[in-house]
């Protein structure tokens, strides 16, 4: 299974972390420090797998972002690469040619999309179209709620005047 998913920028800034196994806050920081040291220093045209603490980290660089997933020793590395690519494609479809800034400002959306894709460290939804549909449906749910909120705040604001 996938133990965690990390998105790290080339400068070592963390853009997204998702943990499927139990790691304490302290361990998380340590893991990220270790891995960014390990991965960011690797040159281009090297293989995308790194052995780390008896596990394997599969990473792939898209523009300035490194997508990393940590898996068990006997998991399929190429499959994970495909999952990463899958995720990137879904993001791309959702944001419309995604860039790092999209992920910075919509960090929660990136999470929600990831949640549609993976659950409990396993791939859930292999179809891009379905994911897009599901995310859109949930977004509209949120939107309607927001509209309500804003109208209510408006009411309160007026009342407060």
């Amino acid at each position: 299974m996938i133990h965690f998913v990390l998105l790290i920028s080339r400068q070592g800034k963390v853009r997204l972390t998702k943990w499927y196994s139990a790691y304490s806050q302290k361990e998380r920081t340590k893991v990220i420090r270790e891995l960014s040291g390990l991965i960011l220093t690797r040159g281009p045209k090297l293989c995308n797998f790194v052995e780390w603490r008896g596990l394997r980290v599969v990473y792939k660089r898209y523009a300035s972002l490194y997508f990393c997933m940590c898996i068990d020793e006997d998991d399929n590395e190429l499959e994970i690469l495909e999952i990463i690519h899958h995720y990137v494609e879904v993001l791309d479809r959702y944001f419309g040619s995604v860039c790092e800034l999209d992920l910075i400002y919509n960090f929660h959306k990136a999470y929600f999309i990831l949640d549609e894709l993976l659950i409990a460290g396993e791939l859930q939804e292999p179809s891009k179209r379905t994911v897009a549909r599901l995310v859109a449906a949930q977004d509209s749910l949120v939107e309607t709620a927001k509209e309500q909120t804003s109208s209510i705040t408006n009411i309160i604001a007026q009342a407060a005047k």
């Binding site: 499959e79 659950i119 409990a120 292999p126 949120v142 709620a145 705040t153």
Partner: protein, 925 residues
């Protein structure tokens, strides 16, 4: 504290504001964040849920990407969770799955929220709570929510159902009893044709099968069907993983599956699936020649591919194959060797592993030579990786693959001269270990040590200090093999030794002491004060002496090579050199160094006084004095000439307390002698014996006659040991030898005892060594002393966690109990009404459902029984008995269905309760 005002919530910063602010901040990131955190703390107490949820979202952001603690908000997250709005819920669930862990105190309060959402009509809410459950479930949550998850397992909304399936994994893991409730539904989902569901179920099973494959053997037919029918690569990969676990357990299954896998391997275009096939074959089907050949063909394609990923995986697959089919590696030798110079360090390491896998008795020399050349050229990291693997491979199993130790020792010397070498510690250990274990190699060892010691350039490299300390020790311990001991003295006392750390400096001085004693002994004891003593002569005397002493023969080495003459004059020079080199060290800050330097100088003074000063005086006097000196030298020399052998870690326990050794004797007067001796730090290696010996013997020489000196030596050693390991001494003193839990390799106490005249001890230690010697004299390979206890690592007994145990136990109960109905799909006998009251009494439900399962099993088996609640167990027992009977009958007429019968027996094996029906359905046979 008053909540935030309305204005606060109106002008609350949104997440976007926070992110923007963080990117444009002028006051420094930390300051900005702590300010934001302060705001959040205030806002999160708001009664307005929108404000609260925004605050929570911001907190998530900070916690997630800037790692700030958000445990304080746990309760607030729950409050937001109770909001009816989906957007709030979403944020709350996100926060909870991010921050909650097993010991979060409010975890108990979440159960009802989750239950409410799990039964919600909004599929997205259900999915959110499932998602959250998959992350935070603990025993209680898993237990309390099992009924809900069970319901969702057959939800007609695919979206919900696949999530429920995925969550089951976590629930099983935390609360194995849930297996009894949910397992059957999970298995039903295996027959689903929707790829989403199938992928989720197969994923769950592949994780489960990793932990305990045997329990899932009965499901093999379903997996087989999926393997053959599957169109999706994701699913195929997971199924292959399952088969990789199952196949080794059941040869018939392997027979059946190997063909489809090979087909898949031939047909598929997807590399990931192809690799999975290859890996499955090489790990679990390695006895199927044709399959392996096909896999190897594919591996070769990987190896020559441009893509570094494929290359890496190809090498990885090779290393899996290597354990069983070494020929595969040899076939691809060129690629592997070429990969050693790949730009990618990971590929290099992988290929290094492979190269090391190829090493055998015959080619170790060549391969090591090639590798050392690579090491010379490569970067420091990989260089040490190479050296490390050479060292560990060669030393494996007490130097199993080394035949020519002379070669190996010189290789060690060569390796330590490689500029990037940082393996000093390992080389040090092997130097000493080989010295102790392999007698025949000692002359070469001494030669290598000389080359290392004599080179002043090496002293500057701090990584080599450990190697040098080993070399120094070797030179002192085996000085009798050296061509020119004087050379050693010069090397050991050369000025640049001041670069050494004190602990190693101390070893240098100690070794110098030994070499000096050897020189003096050669010069005086054997040849009197005549010039030009050859060492071969000194040899005889040496042997004579050891015989005289009644100790076991120390050196039985015929060949000697000392050629440089040791003259009186050279001795004088030597003593001068010692004085010159060591007098500055008398003021050393390190007690160890100071102590040893003082000892050595004291000894030099003594010798000078006794022997050399007299040389100018008249003959008689000189002779008389010479005798005194000779006596001292002989005594000290004897002390040093005891051979050190490897001592097993458990040897100490075998040594009984010798007779006549009173352990609680008053040692007060020895205190004055030994009181100021600083004990050597225990992190230096097995030096205990010579150093202690020296301290004691040189002191006791001064005071006590030789005869009494022996026994006193042991008592003073004991006193010292007592001082050092006082912790382990009981007042009774009885446990003196037994109590020491972790004696160093050459424990001073043991050696002290050994040194004692008590010959039974000598015998004992000899016994512990002798029978383990390789009796193989016909071979040219020198004898390597082995110790059973040391070399055998305690095999870690793999114990399944109790959780896993109970999990697989539960799975087995279900599977083997209900096996018959599985393939025939007469299912869903669990009435829905059964689940209504579950909230309160899920325990009862479990029993019921379990019974149902058993019922099912019986209904389709030959023996139908009337069941009544509460008697189930007895019935099972009866069933078991009856089964045994039928078994016996079947045995008599087993010619009809021999295989079938066998399969049943196999299944019974892991079970306490014999199963009702055969495990592997006929379809597989």
């Amino acid at each position: 504290m008053s909540g935030p005002s309305l204005m606060d919530s109106l002008f609350q910063r949104t997440l976007e504001d926070l992110i923007k602010g963080l990117r444009q901040q002028l006051i420094g990131e930390q300051a900005f964040i702590s300010k934001a955190l302060e705001e959040i703390r205030k806002e999160i107490k708001s009664t307005d849920l929108s404000t609260k949820s925004t605050a929570l979202l911001k907190l998530c952001y900070l916690s997630n990407l800037h790692f700030h603690d958000m445990s304080f908000a746990a309760f607030h997250a729950l409050e937001v969770l109770s909001s009816p709005r989906f957007s709030h819920k979403k944020i709350a669930y996100h926060a909870i799955s991010l921050s909650f862990h097993d010991s979060t105190p409010v975890l108990l309060l979440i159960t009802n929220h989750l239950r409410k959402d799990l039964t919600s009509t909004n599929e997205f809410e259900v999915s959110l709570s499932l998602q959250c459950l998959s992350r935070i479930a603990n025993v209680d949550l898993a237990r309390d929510l099992t009924p809900e998850v069970f319901t969702l397992l057959s939800s007609n909304k695919l979206y919900v159902r696949k999530r429920a399936v995925a969550v089951v994994l976590r629930v099983f893991e935390k609360y194995p009893d849930s297996v009894r409730v949910c397992f059957k539904r999970l298995v039903e989902n295996l027959e689903n044709y929707d790829p989403q569901i199938l992928s989720a179920v197969v994923g769950v099973f592949s994780e489960l099968a990793c932990k305990d494959p045997r329990s899932y053997l009965p499901l093999a037919p379903e997996f087989y069907k999926i393997l053959v029918d599957s169109k999706s690569n994701w699913i195929s990969i997971k199924v292959l993983k399952i088969f990789a676990k199952l196949a080794p357990l059941e040869p018939r299954l392997a027979n059946r599956v190997v063909e489809p896998i090979c087909d898949l391997m031939r047909k598929t275009g997807a590399k990931s699936l192809l690799f999975e096939c290859v890996r499955t074959v090489v790990t679990s089907f390695s006895e199927y020649e044709s399959a392996v050949r096909l896999a190897v063909e594919k591996i070769r394609e990987f190896l020559v591919d441009e893509d570094p990923n494929l290359k890496y995986l190809g090498l990885h697959a090779l290393s899996i194959v290597a354990s069983k089919h070494l020929w595969v590696v040899s076939e691809n030798k060129e690629v592997v060797i070429k990969s050693l110079s790949d730009p990618d360090p990971n590929i290099k390491i992988e290929s290094l592993r492979l190269v090391m896998a190829m090493v055998s008795e015959h080619n170790v020399a060549e391969i090591s030579k090639v590798l050392v050349n690579y090491a010379l050229k490569s970067d420091p990291l990989f260089c040490n990786e190479i050296l490390g693997s050479i060292l560990s491979t060669c030393s494996r199993n007490v130097y199993e693959i080394i035949v020519d130790f002379d070669w190996y020792v010189s290789l060690l010397g060569e390796m330590s001269r490689i500029p990037h070498c940082q393996m000093g510690e390992e080389i040090e250990n092997q130097f000493i270990d080989i010295g102790l274990r392999v007698k025949d190699v000692r002359p070469e060892l001494v030669r290598v040590a000389r080359d290392l010691l004599i080179d002043p350039a090496l002293l500057g490299n701090s990584f080599l200090h450990r190697v040098l300390s080993a070399a120094a020790w070797v030179s002192g311990e085996y000085v009798e093999f050296s061509r020119n001991p004087l050379e050693f003295m010069e090397a050991l006392l050369q000025p640049r030794t001041s670069l050494l750390p004190p602990s190693i400096m101390a070893i240098y001085i100690q070794s110098a002491f030994k070499v000096l004693v050897f020189c003096l002994h050669t010069c005086f004891v054997r040849g009197g004060s005549t010039a030009g003593v050859s060492a071969s002569a000194s040899y005889e005397s040496f042997d004579d002496l050891s015989v005289e002493n009644g100790a076991d023969s120390t050196v039985a080495h015929g060949q000697t090579c000392t050629s440089a003459p040791i003259t009186n004059e050279s001795i004088v020079n030597l003593l001068k050199l010692v004085e010159l080199a060591l007098s500055p060290l008398l003021g050393s800050h390190d007690v160890e160094v100071q102590e040893r330097a003082r000892n050595l100088l004291g000894f030099v003074d003594l010798i000078k006084l006794e022997a050399l000063n007299s040389s100018g005086q008249e003959e008689n006097d000189s002779e008389r004095k010479g005798v005194e000196a000779t006596k001292i030298i002989r005594l000290v020399h004897d002390a040093f000439s005891k051979e050190l052998g490897p001592v097993s870690l458990t040897a100490q326990g075998k040594v009984p307390v010798p007779d006549g050794l009173t352990l609680n004797e008053n040692l007060g007067d020895l205190e004055t002698i030994c009181g100021d001796i600083e004990l050597p730090s225990s992190n230096t290696f097995s030096f205990g014996y010579p150093s202690e010996e020296k301290d004691v013997s040189s002191f006791s020489n001064l005071q006590i006659k030789e005869d009494s000196g022996q026994s006193n030596e042991s008592t003073s050693l004991l006193a010292e040991h007592r001082k050092r390991h006082g912790l382990y001494y009981l007042p009774s003193g009885k446990s003196e030898v037994i109590s020491n839990d972790y004696p160093p390799a050459n424990d001073p106490a043991l050696q002290g005892d050994n040194n004692d005249n008590a010959s039974d001890l000598v015998k004992l230690t000899a016994e512990s060594l002798v029978p383990k010697r390789k009796p193989n004299h016909s071979k040219p390979r020198p004898v390597v002393v082995k110790l059973d206890e040391v070399d055998e690592k305690p095999v870690a007994v793999k114990q399944l966690e109790s959780r896993d145990d109970s999990l697989s136990g539960a799975v087995r109960d279900i599977l083997f109990g209900s096996e018959d109905i599985l393939p025939t799909s007469s299912r869903s006998n669990l009435p829905n009404s059964n689940r209504k009251g579950k909230k309160k009494q899920h325990m009862i439900t479990q029993v019921e459902s379990k019974e149902n399962v058993v019922d099912d099993g019986n209904s389709s088996s030959r023996r139908r029984k009337d069941h009544s609640h509460g008697k189930e167990r007895r019935h099972r027992k009866k069933n078991a008995e009856e089964r045994n009977e039928t078994d016996r009958k079947e045995k008599e007429s087993s010619s009809n269905h021999p295989r079938r019968h066998k399969s049943r027996q196999r299944a019974e094996e892991p079970l306490k309760v014999p199963p009702q029906t055969s495990v592997i359905p006929d379809f597989l046979l």
